[in-house]
Structures are given as structure tokens and as C-alpha cells.
């Protein structure tokens, strides 16, 4: 929480109360650059199903305050209200649902009329149009005096009543969200350091965003590993044709989301319905066994806790730096409710947190969701 308060001081100049004004929803802010997160009413642009359980939803946000999304990093998330907040006595899905950001696109010119909200053909329109400008991932974009439009993609799995409500939203519907929340991944210092991206299940989408941001930052050596229970459960567009089954461990272009950024990947399925037979950690281990030139490599992982634990142990054995993006049950996502506590080892210099000398809790929503793998206490 320490960082947060340092950040906060810039929000609260001593003598004025106007600093609080900028935060109100729908209110135009005098200085969008200082806004790191907020509440937004986004418009659904499209919904598309992937395989048997996953959906991709494109959300459009407009206004001067959305600059914070243009500056967001892979690993950050949004917290979506899966109900209409403005209707009284409508609270069966009381709490928001967190979703990691799968992609961000910033549109600088007026898209009125030129944007196709037909769910069927969004993919080519969005990704092929010259109306889209690639976002610099790290440096702050030029502040724009005009309205900014940002498109946020989330890929979600139909799991409970919240995601079922979300899947029923039609293009044009409004969805309320908080974001961008959390810290995001830290990039390698040097652009030649190998970046190994490992995603499992719904932990795969943030890897798409990370692949894009690493490419944009000039990183040359990126490879992806994704693991799913079965071929139909891959949250992405599979390009079957480019894949040879007899060479499972040579990363190839098999996922549209990685192919766009020229990132080769290995797909692993537990039921061996596609690619490597086994889980992502096993595939990664075989790769590390055979691959040379991994000096200075970094592993980035997001997925189920058991997978993350296996990846963290593997990284530790091989002495490779590893960042993991954790999932936790959250109520607020803003660092208020203290729900998403995760036990971490207390570092020598980091005596800040509550707890004993050996360990303390950190919050996944604000201290994370990305942590150094060796900080986490894997129970």
C-alpha cells in the first residue's frame, strides 16, 4: 500500500478540494495524465465465441479520462459489474468480476459511422483498419486535448451467472467497469533477452497483450506456451493449418493472437487433442531442456495456481527469473476490502507489510496481480 499512498499525494493538493472532482464519472477532467484508474461506462462493440466456453468482448471507452487505458500494461485488469447498477433491487450478482485485459487499441480519429459493430466480422475490421494506431506500451502517450477512444478486449470463460449475464450483452449495450487495475508485468531490461510467455486457460489472454506490448517495445526473442484441457477450450483463434503434429515442441504459428505479433507458440492440451500432449509446464520443461541461448531469459506466467506453482518451481530450478500473474477472489479490486490477500515471503528491505518476520500478506488487486514468483508462498 505504500506505493499507493505516494501516488495518492499527487491527488490531494493541500489547499484545494478540486482534486477530488476529476474522479467523478462522466466528469471531464482537467488533467487526464494524472488519472491512473477510474470508473467508466463502456459500450459493447462486439461479442465473439471462441471454442465451446470462451467469449471475446470488445468494449469501447470514450472521453479524456480514458488515457489511463492507453497507458495500461499487460497483466492489468478491469472489474466489470455484471448487472445494471442503476436499477434498484437488482443485485443478485452483487460483486464485480475481474477480467484481465487481452488487448488495448487506441483510436485517434473520429470513428463515428466507420466502425462496424457487427459481431460476425469484427476481427478483420478491427485489426486490419488503418483507423487504429498502435499504442506505445511503456512511455506515456501525448496528452490529447480532444476526446480519446480506447477499445478494451476481454476474453472470458462462461462460468457462472456473472459471465452468463455478460455474454448476453449486445453491441451497443453499456457495461460499467473499474480500471485499469493492478500493476502489470515488468519488461526485460534488454531487448535481446528471451521472453517466455506461459498461459493456461483464462490466463492466456493477458499473454496476447503482453506479446503485443513486448513486440512494440522492440523485444526480439519472444515465445509462447499455452496450455488447455482440450482444443475446444483454447481462448483464441486457432490456425490449425500451420501446425504439424509430429513436431510438437518446435514453436510455430498456431494462434492468431500470437501470429499477429509474430510470436511462435507451443500449444499443449491435457487430453492431447492438439499439439503437445500434457500441460504447459511440461511443454516448457522439454523446451528448456533442448533450447540453448536462454541467458537472461524471463518467464511470464498466468493461469491456474497449480500451473503457476509448477512454472515457478521449474524457473527456480533453472535459475530463470519468473513473474506470475495471480488470480484471487476479490470483492472490490481497488485495495479497499482486503479480500484478495496472498501470503508472500518478507524480504529484508520490505518490512512494510503486516505479519511476522518471515511472511506477510499482499493484495492481489493492488500489490499485484503480477508478483515475482519467488516472493509467493506456494501452499
Amino acid at each position: 500500500m505504500g506505493d499507493f499512498f505516494t501516488e495518492l499525494r499527487s491527488f490531494c493538493p493541500k489547499s484545494s478540494r478540486k482534486s477530488q472532482k476529476m474522479t467523478e464519472i462522466h466528469q471531464k477532467s482537467p488533467s487526464p495524465k494524472n488519472i491512473h484508474r477510474g470508473e467508466f461506462n463502456a459500450q459493447v462493440l462486439s461479442q465473439q465465441a471462441f471454442g465451446s466456453e470462451h467469449w471475446s468482448m470488445m468494449l469501447q471507452l470514450t472521453g479524456s479520462r480514458v488515457q489511463c487505458f492507453a497507458d495500461s500494461r499487460a497483466g492489468q485488469f478491469i472489474n466489470i459489474a455484471c448487472r445494471n447498477l442503476y436499477v434498484p433491487n437488482n443485485s443478485s450478482t452483487l460483486l464485480r468480476r475481474p477480467f484481465s485485459i487481452a488487448d488495448i487499441q487506441v483510436i485517434t480519429n473520429d470513428i463515428e459511422g466507420s466502425y462496424d459493430t457487427n459481431p460476425g466480422d469484427f476481427s478483420e475490421k478491427n485489426h486490419g483498419s488503418t483507423a487504429f494506431v498502435e499504442v506505445p506500451p511503456v512511455k506515456i502517450s501525448e496528452p490529447s486535448q480532444s476526446q480519446l477512444t480506447v477499445i478494451v478486449e476481454v476474453i472470458y470463460r462462461l462460468l457462472g451467472k456473472g459471465t452468463h449475464w455478460l455474454a448476453q450483452r449486445q453491441p451497443g449495450d453499456s457495461v460499467n467497469l473499474l480500471g485499469p487495475l493492478g500493476n502489470g508485468f515488468t519488461f526485460p531490461d534488454q531487448d535481446f533477452q528471451p521472453a517466455i510467455l506461459v498461459g493456461g486457460g483464462v490466463g492466456i489472454p493477458p499473454m496476447y497483450f503482453l506479446a503485443k506490448q513486448l513486440r512494440q517495445a522492440g523485444h526480439k526473442n519472444i515465445v509462447g506456451f499455452i496450455g488447455c484441457r482440450s482444443k475446444d477450450l483454447i481462448p483464441g483463434i486457432l490456425k490449425i493449418d500451420g501446425y504439424k503434429k509430429d513436431e510438437p515442441l518446435r514453436p510455430q504459428m498456431a494462434l492468431e493472437q500470437f501470429r499477429r505479433n509474430n510470436v511462435p507458440c507451443v500449444i499443449a492440451t491435457d487430453d492431447s487433442s492438439y499439439g503437445f500432449a500434457g500441460n504447459a509446464a511440461q511443454a516448457l520443461e522439454q523446451y528448456l531442456d533442448r533450447q540453448s541461448g536462454l541467458e537472461g531469459a524471463l518467464i511470464y506466467a498466468c493461469g491456474p495456481k497449480l500451473m503457476l506453482r509448477a512454472i515457478a518451481m521449474l524457473a527456480q530450478r533453472r535459475n530463470i527469473n519468473c513473474q506470475v500473474c495471480l488470480e484471487a477472489y476479490m470483492a472490490c479490486g481497488m485495495g479497499i476490502c482486503q479480500s484478495c490477500a496472498v501470503p508472500v515471503h518478507t524480504q529484508q528491505q520490505d518490512g512494510q507489510g503486516s505479519g511476522t518476520d518471515k511472511w506477510h500478506y499482499k493484495l492481489v488487486c493492488t500489490n499485484g496481480p503480477v508478483f515475482n514468483a519467488n516472493c509467493i508462498i506456494w501452499e
Binding site: F4, F5, L8, F11, C12, K14, R17, S19, Q20, K21, T23, E24, I25, I35, H36, R37, G38, E39, A81, L85, Y86, P88, N89, S91, S92, T93, L94, L95, R96, N176, L178, A328, Y329, M330, A331, C332, M334, G335, I336, C337, Q338, S339, C340, A341, V342, G353, S354, G355, H360, Y361
Partner: protein, 305 residues
């Protein structure tokens, strides 16, 4: 729209509820805190607390179970880091105080009473998630009276709110005890004890087994208790009530005021949408205009009896 909690004037009756809005300005990116009637901090204890083992919250039908366990930075760090920020708040600030023993309450309250930026203290005698987290005082009227009297003696000039638990047979006995001990106002109500079980693992969902239920699911029960305490204890004693329990909308807030609340606290919904606080203020104002009512205080306890 203004109302009075004893000597403390609130620009409107909408307050935050303890534990759902942090220590200071944490929510300032999501809501204009300067527009609220008052701000209530998270519970502060003498020593820092790391809180209960996860899982700490769980969504239920129109409700939320929590067993956070009073995780907080402790009195020292609160005074050092949070109070300088609270000094910049433009609205009245109430600090919520919790403890294990009378001595702990007295130590925390006594220290906080010295700060000018604090308009009053809210004694949490009702946290269900910590053994001896005050609940032992909350369910025993004699112990409660002793506790409030001890804090009153330590800070004779502080505005004291006592937040009561609904997990008792007769809440009016608790209310009377708090007032006799020297409470200036009552917060009604804290969470209802609850539990959820994972039927696959056959384990309790919450790391602490049980938790407190909040959210719209408890609103009718909270309204009932506010109505009862107002009628039987608070109105005769002239002690204001802060009504809490599942408030999500201006309609909900007005219900609490009609039942007898002078001000209202919004908790669980603040965790979901902090800007609901200002939306509720605007909604109450609109209700007053629509019904040609000059002051919100005219509504207090005005349910047909």
C-alpha cells in the same frame, strides 16, 4: 439536505461505512469524497493486524460474506501516515475503533481524541470475525456499558458512536447499555453472522469458517432493527441513529431514514461502485423536491406507526 449527528453537522445524510472505503482518500479516483455527509475509516486497533487467512469474502444471493479479520495498520502507523491525509478532508471524519480489551479501546480512543481533524469515534463492538474482536462486548449489555463508560471517561469531549451487532436476542438492551455508558449516537447494524460450505470439498468457503453477511440480503432485517431501536430507545433518549445494512440506492436510504435513521452508511455497494454514494445523495435530493419536503430531517422516523 443537511443533518446533525449531535454537534456534528453533515451536509447530507450519506456516509461511508467502516471497512468499505479505506483509511483516507483511497477512493478519490472513483468518487468525489468531498460531496459526502461524512467519512468513516476502517477499524483501527492498537497493534497492526494482518487479518484472517483467505478466502476472506464470498458472494451470496444479493449479499456478501466477509471475514477480513480487522486487517489494519495499527494505531501508530495510522497516526503517522493516515491522519496527515485525513486533515485534508473537507467533510467530517469518524474513526472506527476496535479492540480486544477495554484497555485497548481506551488506549486507541484516548490517542485519537487528541486530533482536531477527527469529528468523532465509532466504537466497533460488533466485529463477528475476530475472537474477542469486540463482539464479546457487543452481545453483553453490562460489558458494553462498562466499555463505553471507560472510553467516555478517557475522552470526555469526543463524539462517540457505538456500532451495534444484530447477532443478539434483544438489540434494544444493547442500545440502552451503549447510551447509558455515554454513547452520543448508534450505528445500526453491523453484519449478520453467516457461513457458506463448498459441497465438493465439504469445507467452509471462508478461511475463518464463518463471516458476516452484508449487502441487500440483510436490508429488511436492518430496517426492522432501526425501526425497533428508534421507537423503543433512541427517540425517547434523543440519540441519533446511523442506519446501515444493504443500502444500494436513494430509495434504500430513504427507507432507513423513515425507519428512524438520521444518517445512513453505505458499505457493500461502495465496494462495487464508489460513485453510488453521490448518486444516493442526488436521489435523496430529488425525492425531497418531488415530495415538496423542505429538509431531510422531516423524514426521520416518519414511517406510519
Amino acid at each position: 439536505m443537511s443533518c446533525h449527528l449531535g454537534p456534528v453537522r453533515l451536509a447530507n445524510p450519506v456516509m461511508t461505512a467502516s471497512g468499505t472505503c479505506g483509511y483516507t482518500f483511497e477512493l478519490s479516483e472513483f468518487v468525489d469524497l468531498g460531496r459526502l455527509g461524512a467519512f468513516v475509516t476502517k477499524s483501527i486497533t492498537l497493534e497492526p493486524r494482518m487479518g484472517n487467512p483467505p478466502q476472506r469474502t464470498f458472494e451470496t444471493a444479493s449479499g456478501m460474506l466477509n471475514s477480513i479479520g480487522l486487517a489494519n495498520v495499527g494505531l501508530e502507523k495510522f497516526c503517522e501516515e493516515k491522519i496527515p491525509l485525513l486533515e485534508r478532508m473537507t467533510i467530517p471524519v469518524f474513526v472506527n475503533v476496535a479492540g480486544k480489551t477495554v484497555e485497548e479501546y481506551v488506549a486507541v480512543a484516548g490517542r485519537l481524541a487528541g486530533f482536531k481533524c477527527i469529528a468523532g469515534l465509532e466504537l466497533n463492538v460488533s466485529c463477528p470475525n475476530v475472537s474477542h474482536g469486540g463482539i464479546t462486548f457487543g452481545i453483553d449489555p453490562k460489558g458494553l456499558k462498562k466499555l463505553v463508560a471507560a472510553v467516555r471517561a478517557a475522552c470526555p469531549n469526543s463524539f462517540l458512536i457505538v456500532k451495534l451487532t444484530p447477532n443478539v436476542t434483544d438489540i434494544t438492551a444493547s442500545a440502552r447499555a451503549a447510551i447509558e455508558g455515554g454513547a452520543n449516537a448508534l450505528s445500526l447494524v453491523n453484519t449478520f453472522l453467516g457461513m457458506a460450505i463448498d459441497i465438493e470439498s465439504r469445507k467452509p468457503v471462508l478461511g475463518n469458517r464463518t463471516g458476516g453477511l452484508s449487502g441487500p440480503a440483510i436490508k429488511p432485517m436492518a430496517i426492522y432493527l432501526v425501526d425497533k431501536v428508534y421507537k423503543e430507545v433512541a427517540q425517547p433518549a434523543g440519540v441519533p441513529i446511523i442506519g446501515l445494512g444493504g443500502i444500494c440506492s436513494a430509495e434504500d436510504a430513504i427507507e432507513f431514514i423513515l425507519a428512524g435513521a438520521t444518517a445512513v452508511g453505505v458499505g457493500t455497494e461502495t465496494l462495487v461502485q464508489p460513485s453510488c454514494l453521490t448518486r444516493i445523495i442526488d436521489g435523496i435530493r430529488q425525492y425531497l423536491i418531488d415530495h415538496k419536503i423542505a429538509a431531510v430531517s422531516e423524514l426521520i422516523g416518519m414511517v406510519e406507526r
